[in-house]
Every structure is written in structure tokens, then in C-alpha cells.
């Protein structure tokens, strides 16, 4: 990585207790995030793709300091975020924002849009008067396409549609002009006709604010649309298995899981669809995340499984060619 990373996760591991301890036993712990390293540069867009339960949301929230990692570090401008001084942490906190997946639970149900959007500015006293706060809020509501802003200011969340609520969520995140935004499956619960609209809005905001994005999704099509000029990382059961430039990764996936995933993605082209065959996996269903197979977690399903190698030790993420990292013994991990 030549340029410096704005936000970087190093050997990040987040373990949760799964199930109860029982009378005599220990509680089983499982690693939602297992030794992940990933960095995002200034103004960069990185899509993090994976199926549900792979740990991508946990990773994202840990990267912006909402979850404390079990081990490993998160560096903001090369400083450990859990060791910052009070002022440094306050600055980090303002610059790392989140947009949630579910528009029906990400807004305070008893507050008006104005209160919701301006809460950050008001709390940190970033503007001197109520009038200025009002003006800023109106400006931001306009930026996210909620026009006329005055109309939306006094609405309660339940009076808005899913897409509108998501825009309010976005407004709340960008009013502080953060340098880094975590977008967690933000269009997953939005109707098809409106997905692109929200993604375009985000791309526009990125142009205007210069923020970096960590964009989490399970939908490769959406990942590609958003991070077209950026990078994409693929996660499987807590591990990052492949990272690379979005278009290159999609055209030429290296990791067997990435290949399988891309072969299974539905494509709105009936002729192409007939030609595509899904990669044959040794096992259809994924393993229990609490009890993954030894070594590489994909080993029990991988068509390229090499006994004695893949089931012994977890492969490391190594650079295979320019900008492309893969964690697979096929590529000399």
C-alpha cells in the first residue's frame, strides 16, 4: 500500500460468546471477525462483500470504534483509536460515521427529522446559534434530496417512506462532514426502483465531501455499482479471502469462494443466465459459524481442496499481483 491509509484494521479479531456456559463448561466463543487486516485510504471507496453471518457488519462497526476488538488494532491516521487522548478521540468520533441498514429502526421514533439530523451539530456546539443550526440542517436535507427541506424538517420518521428515512439517516451522518463513512447494507431493505437513487446520492456526496466509504453489502451487483472505481474485499466466515480492484476482481476472481459467489449471483440477462453454471461445491450448505472446519474455513466446500494443506492452517492474505490479495494455498499463501 503506497499511499497512507486513513483508517486501517490490523489483525482484528472480535470474539463473541455463543450459547450459554452451562453448569460446568465454558461458554463457546466464536470469532465473528478472525484476524482481519484491511485499510481504506483518503477518499477511497471500498466495498466489503459477503453473505449473511460472515462478520462484515461486525468488522465495519469495529473499524469505526463502535465495538471493542478482542485483539488487534484499528488505526486512524496511524494512531490506535483505543489509545487516543480525549480530544483526539473526539475528533476521530466526529469523522467516523455510520449509516444503518434498517430505515425502520435507525431513526429515533419520537423525534422530528430536524432534531435527528441536527443532534450532532448541537451536541458538539459546532454552530453558535439555533438559527445557524436550522440553516445547516436545511442545507443538508436539500443535499440528500429531501426537497423542500422545510416540509421534511417537522416530520416524524413514521410519516416517511423507507427511502426517505434512509436519506435522513444519510443527512445525519454527513452533516458533520466526516472523513469516513460506514454504509452498512444501506440499500438492502430499499425497493429495487430506488436503490440506484440512493447509491447515486452517496457517490455525489463523496464527490462533494471527499469522504472515504466502507460499503458493506451481500449483493455483488450493488458492490460493483458503488465501488466501480475503487476496491472490493470479500469475506467468508470472519476472514477476508480476497481484495482487489472492483472490476478486476469481478472479471477475474481468484479465490474459489469468490468464484463460487460470482457464479451464483443472478444476472438479469436470460441468455447469459442459461450459459452460466454455478461452481460445483463439495457441500451445499455452509458450516456452523461456531464450528468451522480446521484450517481454511472454506475447505469443506472448496472444489480445489488439497488435503494436508488446506485443512491444517488458515491461509494468510498475501499480495498475488498488483493490488490483488488472496488468502488461498493455490496462490502461494
Amino acid at each position: 500500500m503506497k499511499a497512507e491509509n486513513l483508517l486501517e484494521a490490523r489483525d482484528l479479531t472480535v470474539r463473541f460468546a455463543a450459547g450459554s456456559a452451562g453448569l460446568f463448561g465454558k461458554a463457546t466463543r466464536f470469532s465473528a471477525v478472525d484476524n482481519c487486516s484491511l485499510g481504506v485510504k483518503e477518499k477511497e471507496v471500498l466495498s466489503l462483500v459477503g453473505e449473511s453471518g460472515c462478520g462484515k457488519t461486525t468488522f465495519g462497526k469495529t473499524a469505526i470504534g463502535l465495538i471493542k476488538p478482542t485483539s488487534g488494532t484499528v488505526l486512524y491516521e496511524r494512531k490506535d483509536i483505543w489509545k487516543l487522548s480525549r480530544n483526539e478521540y473526539a475528533e476521530f468520533r466526529r469523522n467516523a460515521q455510520i449509516i444503518h441498514q434498517d430505515p425502520y429502526s435507525s431513526l429515533h421514533p419520537v423525534k422530528k427529522v430536524y432534531e435527528i439530523v441536527s443532534s450532532g451539530v448541537r451536541y458538539h456546539k459546532l454552530l453558535p446559534t439555533e438559527q445557524k443550526i436550522r440553516e445547516k440542517s436545511i442545507e443538508v436535507l436539500g443535499m440528500v434530496g429531501l426537497n423542500p427541506p422545510d416540509y421534511f424538517m417537522n416530520k416524524y420518521p413514521h410519516q416517511l417512506s423507507g427511502g426517505q428515512r434512509q436519506r435522513v439517516s444519510i443527512a445525519r451522518a454527513v452533516i458533520l462532514s466526516p472523513r469516513f463513512i460506514l454504509a452498512d447494507e444501506i440499500v438492502t431493505m430499499i425497493d429495487v426502483s430506488m436503490k440506484i437513487g440512493i447509491l447515486n446520492l452517496l457517490l455525489e456526496l463523496r464527490e462533494n465531501l471527499g469522504s472515504s466509504f466502507l460499503f458493506i453489502t451481500h449483493d455483488f451487483g450493488v458492490a460493483r455499482y458503488f465501488a466501480e472505481g475503487g476496491r472490493t474485499a470479500v469475506m467468508y466466515l470472519g476472514n477476508i479471502v480476497e481484495v482487489g480492484k472492483t472490476d478486476e476482481l469481478i472479471m477475474d476472481p481468484l479465490h474459489p469462494y469468490t468464484k463460487a459467489l460470482l457464479s451464483a449471483v443472478p444476472v438479469p440477462d436470460p441468455i447469459l443466465a442459461k450459459e452460466r453454471k454455478m461452481v460445483e461445491l463439495r457441500k451445499i450448505d455452509p458450516p456452523d459459524p461456531v464450528n468451522p472446519p480446521p484450517g481454511c474455513k472454506f475447505s469443506d466446500r472448496c472444489p480445489f481442496f488439497m488435503e494436508g494443506k488446506c485443512d491444517v492452517k488458515l491461509p494468510e492474505l498475501v499480495e498475488v499481483k498488483d493490488g490483488r490479495l488472496v488468502a488461498c494455498y493455490l496462490y502461494g499463501s
Binding site: 426502483s193 451481500h218 449483493d219 463460487a260 459467489l261 443472478p266 444476472v267 443466465a273
Partner: protein
């Protein structure tokens, strides 16, 4: 193994209108829907929230919950049975035996404290007078068809199976009594991409092996490239377009179908060509006058804002409800 009955259409739906009547208002969930489903065919119903597809499917089983009421229209099954007039025992026999439905989110509605076998197989054999052994044998066959280990699955508790496995178990159980039609409401929405692909493959196989007619409800146009050979696009309770799969994707004739195609981000194809559909889904309490899509339509002209276009057959098996279908490309 498909049975060719005299009647080519297993379902004939004519001008169906279903309304939900509330205290101070009412919502027309389905308005004037006419649709034929051919025996042994597979049709996909595509629609976003508020499109009415779930209500349509429920009416095909006469299962519309109160305060929903069928205001007009007919649903004829296999050329002779009027579904909407079935009652009591006849209706019970019809549901699950002739037509089975896998509801949305069904994979999450398993009772967590009962084993899968107890709550599916046993429930069915309790309620119907079927030979228990025969049912068990049938279940084993079906579970194997959906790539599940029958013994392990029937003995398992729901939480021991993944989402994909539960959904497949659901589908297998729905087919236990050899229904002629299987309706699935968003069967893959909550599932990961690979499970989704497996389930779609399995549905194709089931259709070939058992000759069952399949109706798939989804908001994701892309999955209609699998399994189904016809697609009906619904919007605000009405059918906008019906066509063969290939035609819908390559030559859509309704602006909404075209819009959906352009608004779906895909792994292939030109990213720059993606465009959102302006506006937002209709407020079902306040459906626009004329064609419900007109506020968002780039082809809208005055007549679109006044009168709703009827569903016309523009070529064999191809229907569109649009005044300007000729200009759509």
C-alpha cells in the same frame, strides 16, 4: 411425468379486485387483475412493496385475511372449480392438496421447540387420512430431491439448520400431498446467494420431475432468469406487463418493466447505463389517477393521467397495459 389434463390453464383469473376495508379508508390491494397460468408452467410475478402480488397469491387460495375482501372477479382452477366460492371442507381439501403455498419468511416461522418432523410431517398425517408410512416414504423422497438428508432433517430442531436448509425443508413439505400448483412468496429473499441459486435450481428440477406448476413471487427481477418461463410485472395492484422471460428482459414494452431493468445493479453489463426510477412507490391510500405509474413515467402523456390503460394482448401470450408501449425501448 407431467399429466396433460384437458384444461390447458390450471388457473384462470378474471378481473380480480381485492380491497382491504379499514375504519376510515380502504386500500385496493389488487385491481382488475386477469391472468392465466398454464398447466405445468412456471410464472414469476415481479413487484415491489405495495404491488399486490402477495394478496393476489392469497386470493388464489381464498386465504385473503380480513379486513380484505374480494370485491369482484373470478378465479377458476383447472377449468371447473371456482375458488372464491369454495367453503368449508371443500376449501380445506383444495388447500395444500391441490395448491400449496410457501409463505414469505416461512423459514423463520418454524416452532423453535419442536423438531422439523414433528411440526410438518406429523401435523399433515394427523390432519389428513393418509397412511403414515406412505407419507414418511414420500417425505424421504422429497427431502432427497431438495438435497437434504431426510433422517437428519426430520429429527433436527429449526435452529440446527441453516436458513437455506429450512427453506428447502419447507418446500419439500409443501409438496407432500402432491399439489398441482406450488406458490412461493419471496422464497429466497432472506437467503444467501448460493442457497438462493440452489433453491432455484431445485425448483426447476422439481418442476421437471413432478410436473408441478410453479408461481414465484419476487421483487428481484434477476431471479426470473431461472425457473420461470413467463413473467408478470405488477405495480400498485395492477398487472403492467406479461411476457416470456426473454421478452421481458430483452424487449420490455412497459415503462415500469424497462425502468426496473435499468434500475437493477448487476455484476455484468454497463454500470453507466443504470438509472433509478424517479419518485417513490405509490401510496396505496392515494393511488394516482389514471395509470398508477404515470407520476414516475418518462413516457407519460395526458391520457395516462386520466384513464387507466387496459391490459392488451399485443402478440401471442404477450400483454401490456400502456398507451405508449410502441415507443418503449
Amino acid at each position: 411425468m407431467s399429466l396433460q389434463e384437458e384444461c390447458p390453464n390450471i388457473y384462470d383469473i378474471d378481473n380480480l379486485t381485492v380491497e382491504y376495508v379499514l375504519r376510515n379508508s380502504s386500500v385496493k390491494a389488487v385491481t382488475d387483475v386477469s391472468l392465466d397460468i398454464s398447466n405445468g408452467g412456471a410464472i414469476g410475478i415481479v413487484g415491489e412493496s405495495g404491488s399486490g402480488k402477495t394478496t393476489l397469491a392469497l386470493s388464489m387460495l381464498n386465504l385473503v385475511p380480513t379486513p380484505g375482501k374480494v370485491m369482484s372477479g373470478k378465479i377458476i382452477f383447472n377449468g371447473d372449480k371456482d375458488i372464491l366460492s369454495l367453503k368449508g371442507e371443500e376449501l380445506r381439501q383444495f388447500r395444500w392438496k391441490q395448491v400449496a403455498m410457501v409463505f414469505q419468511g416461512a423459514l423463520n416461522s418454524f416452532n423453535p421447540v419442536l423438531r422439523i418432523g414433528e411440526q410438518t410431517l406429523e401435523t399433515i398425517t394427523e390432519h389428513e387420512s393418509i397412511d403414515k408410512q406412505k407419507a414418511l416414504d414420500k417425505a424421504n423422497v422429497l427431502l432427497k430431491l431438495v438435497r437434504l438428508d431426510p433422517e437428519r432433517t426430520l429429527k433436527a430442531f429449526p435452529h440446527e439448520l441453516s436458513g437455506g436448509m429450512r427453506q428447502r425443508a419447507m418446500i419439500a413439505m409443501a409438496l407432500l400431498l402432491d399439489p398441482r400448483v406450488l406458490i412461493l412468496d419471496e422464497p429466497t429473499t432472506a437467503l444467501d446467494v448460493m442457497s438462493q441459486k440452489y433453491i432455484l435450481n431445485i425448483l426447476s428440477e422439481l418442476r421437471k420431475r413432478l410436473g408441478v406448476t410453479i408461481m414465484l413471487l419476487t421483487h428481484d427481477l434477476a431471479i426470473c432468469t431461472e425457473v420461470v418461463d413467463r413473467v408478470a410485472v405488477m405495480y400498485a395492484g395492477r398487472i403492467m406487463e406479461v411476457a416470456k422471460t426473454e421478452d421481458i428482459f430483452l424487449r420490455p414494452k412497459h415503462p415500469y418493466s424497462l425502468g426496473l431493468m435499468q434500475a437493477t445493479p448487476s455484476v455484468f453489463g454497463d454500470v453507466k447505463k443504470r438509472k433509478p426510477i424517479p419518485g417513490s412507490p405509490p401510496d396505496m391510500f392515494n393511488v394516482p389517477k389514471g395509470c398508477p405509474f404515470n407520476p414516475r413515467c418518462q413516457y407519460a402523456i395526458d391520457v395516462c393521467r386520466e384513464t387507466n390503460p387496459a391490459l392488451e394482448e399485443i402478440s401471442k401470450g404477450r400483454l401490456v397495459a400502456c398507451y405508449r408501449w410502441r415507443d418503449v425501448s
